[in-house]
Symmetry: C2
Subunit: 571 residues, 2 copies
Amino acid sequence: MTSTVLAPTDRNSGTPAAHALLDVLVGWGIRRVFCCPGSTEAAFLDAVVERSAEVELVLTTHESVAVAMADGAARITGQPQVAYLHTNVGLANGVAHLTAAQLGNAPVLLLNGLKSTALQGRDGFTTVPYPRDTIRQHVKWARQVTSADALAADVARALRTSVAEPAGPTWIGLPQDVLESTAPAGVAPETVRPVDVPRNRPDRDAVADAARLLAGATRPVLVAGGDVARHGAVDALVTLAERLGATVLGEDRRGFQRTAFPTAHPRFAGWYAPTHPAVTAADLVFFVGCRVFTEFEAPVGDEFPRHATVLHAHVDPTEVGRLHPVRLGLVGHLGAVLDDLLAALPPNATRATAEGGSSPAGIGGGSAQGGSVAAGAPGSGVRPAFPGHVGLGAVVAALVDGLGTDPTVVLDATTATPALLSALPQHRPDQVLLSSSGSLGWGAGAALGVQLARPGHQVVAVLGDGSFQFGIQALWTAAHYRIPVTFVVLNNGSYSAVGSALHRFGGAARRTGRWPGTDIGGPRIADIATGFGVPATRVTGPADLAAALRAVRDTAGPALVEVLTGPGAPS
Amino acid sequence: MTSTVLAPTDRNSGTPAAHALLDVLVGWGIRRVFCCPGSTEAAFLDAVVERSAEVELVLTTHESVAVAMADGAARITGQPQVAYLHTNVGLANGVAHLTAAQLGNAPVLLLNGLKSTALQGRDGFTTVPYPRDTIRQHVKWARQVTSADALAADVARALRTSVAEPAGPTWIGLPQDVLESTAPAGVAPETVRPVDVPRNRPDRDAVADAARLLAGATRPVLVAGGDVARHGAVDALVTLAERLGATVLGEDRRGFQRTAFPTAHPRFAGWYAPTHPAVTAADLVFFVGCRVFTEFEAPVGDEFPRHATVLHAHVDPTEVGRLHPVRLGLVGHLGAVLDDLLAALPPNATRATAEGGSSPAGIGGGSAQGGSVAAGAPGSGVRPAFPGHVGLGAVVAALVDGLGTDPTVVLDATTATPALLSALPQHRPDQVLLSSSGSLGWGAGAALGVQLARPGHQVVAVLGDGSFQFGIQALWTAAHYRIPVTFVVLNNGSYSAVGSALHRFGGAARRTGRWPGTDIGGPRIADIATGFGVPATRVTGPADLAAALRAVRDTAGPALVEVLTGPGAPS
């Protein structure tokens, strides 16, 4: 094979195994491959030329963008998506955002072009001795294909593993010699046929116990996690909340991945926090499809409502009781869990419906949280707090005002997140998407993936200026393919999460008002975007933000609006 | 400790262990820390506030830039440099460029802020179960510090390990609780004292045998590897070449890291290739301080000159005979190897000096290689080749014309590399720096590190447009600190290495002239740079390039010149 590859002659001696790869992807309904290629992927790229009617290569100029796009598209469709990365260095560049896909349970298949098998044992160019070491703690399954005959089956297994619950990323290493091999590689029918993902159902006795506990609770709180949306069970959770007259909170924002409950619903009362009035007053807390918890900082464990009866429903049995023993666990697909619970609720539990008009405890707690992180820790009045975003409330209000009636918003703006989560419209599942990975830059690429999966729908990425720089290469893909995402960059010229941490630390930085590692001011972000071919505007405050957003709402391609939110900005 | 950290009060109850870390770094002469911080590093950042006279934080807006800067500074100084990255995601973002430091034997210490120990066992925010898995195949030593008492000793050991031969990166994981701990952490005197790196010397009998073989060869070829420069042994190699009347080649460009022989010297004859006339005619080939080899693509092994007597000198015993048995290996620091060899050469070997004026075999081979990759594979006349850079020869000539008399040039322009390597002035060691990692984007950051280590000296980064996007965040650091690097971007609007690979593959792409995954045109790179605060110019061809470079030669801050080298550009 190899000498054929190197010879500058026409290739006419057989079909490379790359076509078997495409057979599997196309069979699974995959129409796009998000890619940042190198020379090792030539056989794949060449096969795409021949089969451009079946599959589109979506080019990115950094692997992190390819991964985030696949993640965004996978989250919004629930279907597997493919990112194709180049060798060890390309894989490394994709890892940080892959952690977002992992935490968001996005079925992303990472294909990774590797140098030919013969080079791997010789420390060849762009090889590492142990490719799987780079990736294995970030995927459900990792396999380097060892022969053309095994390629289709390995890729199909990776796809099946990605979509199986709990869904998540997988990795397939594709050595160049395998991909280029023209050995007869049989593609078995089962490899090109997508599977129905089986649903697990909770234990019948556990459901009965849970229904009795829920019906007997006087001040129940339901905590809606992202998996409720991912499993298409939001309506069922709304029904449960109404029947129980329960207060509903969104999951703690550290674990927030996607809108899982309509925030305008009368039973919704903000986001989970151990100090939330509904939580402190609750006699029962039912965590539904969320992690308990994604802890941010020591001391640990203080978020758990020990005073209440705690129930936890999750599709993954290892998540139930992972950090805290709970009274009762319901392991199952959340559609099944909620359907079974609703069926098992005693009729008298429906009495609560009549009381449903009463205001749930702590309503408005969500809004009250808005901007609290940006404003610094409580009790910071003596020393000057790190400024963070200035006038954030007004900016967020203008942002909401300028958006359309039903946008999907991807958030990647660290310290502005609480205010945005509270203010953005969240009428329907997945309306706001977020990563709990801490990997800055994810949002720009993820929004592009969401937009491709939802053509004709308004998709907005709200980014901090730090995140903007991390994800900047997404602008190239947005411009090249004219993907009509609107990027909004809240530019406060600083890593304000670092500033807040220094403030909390309470040392010399706070004493002197010097904040090393925080000043990232200077860039004219709108000018940079224009250089990339994305039409852009800089506005200096909320007064112009809404108008700027309205002006670009119906443009056919991407647009960017930069709004200054730093100390010098008008508030 | 932890509750103190979280309390928003002044910290006045002891000195955090972060100061012990600074004690070690400062003791080792480290005055800068290249950093992209997050909240876990607050104690370190705070300590920097108090000790700003001793150490400077150099902020970057992507971890890859911090790593490349440390690498550039480490290569040019030979002294250890420090990059400080944030948690699992920041570490992942630094890995690709760390492979460059690894291959370039740069003593880079990666400090990696980790979440508090208590969170690591609880899948906390930005944690992974096995942090070392991400990094261990890229470093000589990897250790997560487990207590404040061990911090200084662990960091000192990492520094000693980094500078020991063969030099290379090390990793220290620093949990937040350890860094913030105010437990009395003793800093032993030996941890704050840099070491002299011991030199190994080759076996005396081996030296005698090598000297005899060299003296007896009639057409010897010396292949000068980067370690000759790294070990300060270029003058000794020049002397050896002159005494032997040997032809000198630079190491194969796939392994090239740094200028290791003056290319204008009469004995220099281009770069190593198995087909080079000097190699095919040689009866002895002596590889000095290079890898044998960094292979790019199968078939493997064909680069080795089996017809000749082969000697290999390297500081690392595992490099000698790694892929190919050699007649004789000389394991040692190259200064020692060459000094010993010169002393052991029989007096009659100096006869060759008198013949030194004769032209070495194959001179000009280097220039002949120029542009060969960009021009497509040989025999490509029948089908249209992928265009790559157009008029590259003239552009490179204009580039050389526009540079000052003694620039240091960092290359990161994949397909233009052969032409640049042949044409750029290489009078002195380390004048041209390159990475053999294949990690695009390294050059921009590396040039900044070189410039900081060589203030007042002209440093130029020559980048492809693909590499420009990968390393774009370096512009922020260049602008913020006014680091006077000149960036030259050869913008051909394409991943031409991918195009060349598709051409070599000889399939549908070549047949149809469609090259998927190659078109990255569109960005106005000069405008993007201006948006970052780096003054920039776009020129359309060689005629204006030299003038544009002369115009920015003596500016006090960074500058960028974009030159169009794509098919549409004037040639």
